[in-house]
Symmetry: C2
Subunit: 223 residues, 2 copies
């Protein structure tokens, strides 16, 4: 395509934005990262995502696409190069199923495991998150969810590789451990050692500091 204009409206440290960054990197798409302040939303964000007013938003030749998994599928279909989803319809359906599973069952439960103050509530969420991890552990049959190469489900699951270990360290919580989930932890290491992934992740220190601050603020406000 001639005269490509690709912008990504995002914030550093969002796993949803990171999914899109990995997909763009994998396809070798050059783009401009337009950092957003979610406390003070820009006119550009409100124009391109008037419904949810959230990031990530991919803007391709002035046409906006919202929702991280929708964007990743769009990138796979709009640009040639390494493919993100498999080609076989049944394998594609499985990939979409597991990506949705991660959104529905992992994100919320893991987040609440970390940030819930009430101990009983927290324990309930830990169990829920670990139940979801167990399904993923059982599903993981090769090096990656996508097989020998990482794909749609792996990209959807970036939260588990980078964010969850950091958040459980902050909270002093044993959520995802090698003893309980050896295959998931091995996958985690394999995924993080991929050059495409390494180059797409945010810098750990400022993100760690941000979430540590958030964690302490939430704990303090409950006292």
């Amino acid at each position: 395509m001639a005269q490509e204009n690709v912008k990504l409206l995002g914030v550093l440290g969002s796993p949803f934005v990171c999914r899109v960054q990995i997909a763009l990197k994998l396809k070798g798409v050059e783009y401009e990262f337009v950092a957003q302040d979610l406390q003070n939303k820009s006119e550009e964000l409100l124009k391109y995502n008037p419904i949810h007013k959230k990031v990530p938003v991919l803007v391709h030749n002035e046409k906006p696409i919202n929702e991280s998994l929708v964007i990743v599928e769009y990138i796979d279909e709009a640009w040639k190069g390494k493919s993100i989803l498999p080609t076989d319809p049944y394998q594609r359906a499985l990939a979409r199923f597991w990506a949705k599973f991660i959104d529905d069952k992992v994100f919320g439960a893991a987040w609440k495991s970390i940030f819930t103050i009430d101990e009983n509530e927290r324990e309930k969420n830990v169990k829920e998150a670990q139940k979801a991890f167990q399904f993923l552990e059982d599903e993981l049959k090769g090096k990656f969810f996508g097989g020998e190469k990482f794909g749609f489900v792996d990209i959807a699951a970036v939260y588990i590789t980078f964010w969850i270990p950091m958040l459980q360290e902050i909270a002093g919580l044993e959520l995802l451990t090698n003893e309980k989930f050896p295959k998931l932890c091995k996958w985690n290491q394999e995924f993080l050692s991929e050059p495409t992934i390494k180059e797409s992740l945010p810098p750990r220190d400022p993100i760690f500091a941000f979430f540590k601050g958030l964690y302490e603020k939430i704990r303090a406000s409950a006292k």
Copy 2:
């Protein structure tokens, strides 16, 4: 494909199951409908959907696919014939965005508008559902969301055409009215008059009776 074996595990009266029935009908796929009792889940359901234990499940030559929108996309990719999603990547992304919007923003809010007892809470949900309807009203530019022919978003939205008018009648509620949402109501009529849709919808009377019973039970239990 030779020796096709297609089964749909479902219940009558579920809009999620109905999505799959419409897609199969549109493609002209013959299948066996295997009715499920969700109060007493069958071994077949637990085998084919061990994670969510829900319907619909499509079983194609012994391979199960779960999650209604994932199934509809699978049907579109696995069988030739009339297409459900558009072919252009950007239009495909928009279709996926709006289908997800319906799942995330319409289902829960509309359901709670009908079945919530607390008046304030109910009012809040009515507002939320109508806010979502307004976005759909504004998005509707042609005869269907898919343009001149109905497609992925229309199928995803079957809940709005068949279930919502019935549920609001049961609850004596004005949720989706011609005054507030003329385009959506016109689309509703167009959609329901399509032969493929008519032949895929459940019979109204028993479904009406079922939801009326449920409504009265919930109201009575709150007294």
